[in-house]
Amino acid sequence: MEVEKITNEAPGVKTFRLKFKNEEEGNAFEFHAGQFGEYSVFGEGESTFCIASSPTRKGYIECTFRQAGRVTTGLSKLEEGATIGFRGPFGNTFPMDEWKGKNLVFVAGGIALPPMRCVIWNALDLRKNFKDITIVYGAKSVDDLVYKDELTEWAARPDVNLVTTVDPGGETPDWKGEVGFVPSVLEKVAPNSENTVAIVCGPPIMIKFTFPVLEKLGFKDENIYTTLENRMKCGVGKCGRCNVGKLYVCKDGPVFTRTELQSLPPEY
């Protein structure tokens, strides 16, 4: 893959737009919302990121990552035009066909917006298929919000209810959004749980406090979806790293409903 475009989203966080070096491969490439890939930096290794762009947009894929270890540091040093490797798409998908005609509520925190972004764009590109779309997204501070331009775009759309928030203390003087942790802001927004699917993604601590809020609002576990992050290497269910209970997060996930999560041992 060639790195076509690099966007600096937040301190330490970048988005890469990648195009296939082989155009034929690029045109034939298909994936579904929720899937991930293994991205290679030759000389450093491989890392797992979700595909953060929508499958409705052809010819390129995008990934967003935070610089944290060896491979992501190697990625951060690359310039536009560089070559990286890609294996994928792996994993299961968000069942968007099953969601037709329903309301969608997206709840995300910080660097967990990327896995949701592909679903959001997918839903927006097929807007007629869904009823109300609500997005609750928060980060530690204004600077840490990712996809700032897209947030503005979504906010401007009349067919999307976007609520952004930053943690108390993370606001700037001209911040017009909410101030508060994502779970409490979600409670305030109080989306209707009838005929609605909730998609949640965020750091473990955010998920821990979001689930009870959704429960309170009347969401059933089989209508709450999340995507798990686990240490992965092979991505195809062989190396054993992401094995949780009898499932492999790379093959049976990373998308799980809350019902499925509850049947898993707490080892993720």
Binding site: G45, G69, R70, T73
Partner: protein, 266 residues
Amino acid sequence: MNKLIEKATSLLQEGVVTKVIGYEEGTEKPRPFFCEKAEDTSKLIYNSRCINNLAVYLTKPELLGTGKVAVVATLPTLRSIVQLAFENQLKEDKLVILTVTDSEEVIEFAGFAEIETYLKDFKLKIDQKEQDLIDKLEGMSKEERWTFWVEELSQCFKCYACRAACPMCYCTRCVVEVNCPQWVQPWASPLGNIEWQINRAMHLAGRCTGCGSCAEACPVGIPIDLLTRKMMEDLGEEFGVVPGQPNKNGNVLSTFKPEDKENFIR
């Protein structure tokens, strides 16, 4: 044995310690035993077949818990305890250190200093089989010795049992587990395996107390303790290092002082 069992029972019953780390009979040979109940102390044994170095457990907080712990220490374990104490890895007030003499008397040490004094009366023992191998190696030329180690270490499959069994290998992240940068390759390969053992010998230089747990733990039977032991001998000659009697000036190869000479750096 009765005196040991008596002591362990009273320590547990009186709530002085939450567990006694000792030995019990295993499948073919004695193995480490974590005794938490007074009624289990009858399983405790102590004899020359007890060769695991129990000091390796004393740097694992999840095993020690918050209370006091007793450890039944053989001579090699005592030497490791002294070295670990010197490296600030042990809390004197959280440990009850016991040993059993040849006449089956139980000694409870008042502190690390007393252990050091006690150890002065005992010389490091090497069994005949090891001595034979050492003599064989000493009789080889440099090239023959290299060939010997290349062949032995080609068997190694990097299970890191040597590191896991060594009480001195308590680094929370070993050098081989660092990937930024990747100093030492973690996978098995003939030269990579030699690189790993040389690394161990260097990191243990002046710290190894010659317990032989590394070679004992090695599933494929590579006599790697000879490498660290040779290093220990050399440092004994060059720096007067004695296992079980830490040099008050610091570890020979891992202590740095601002006033160290730097005239060899050109």
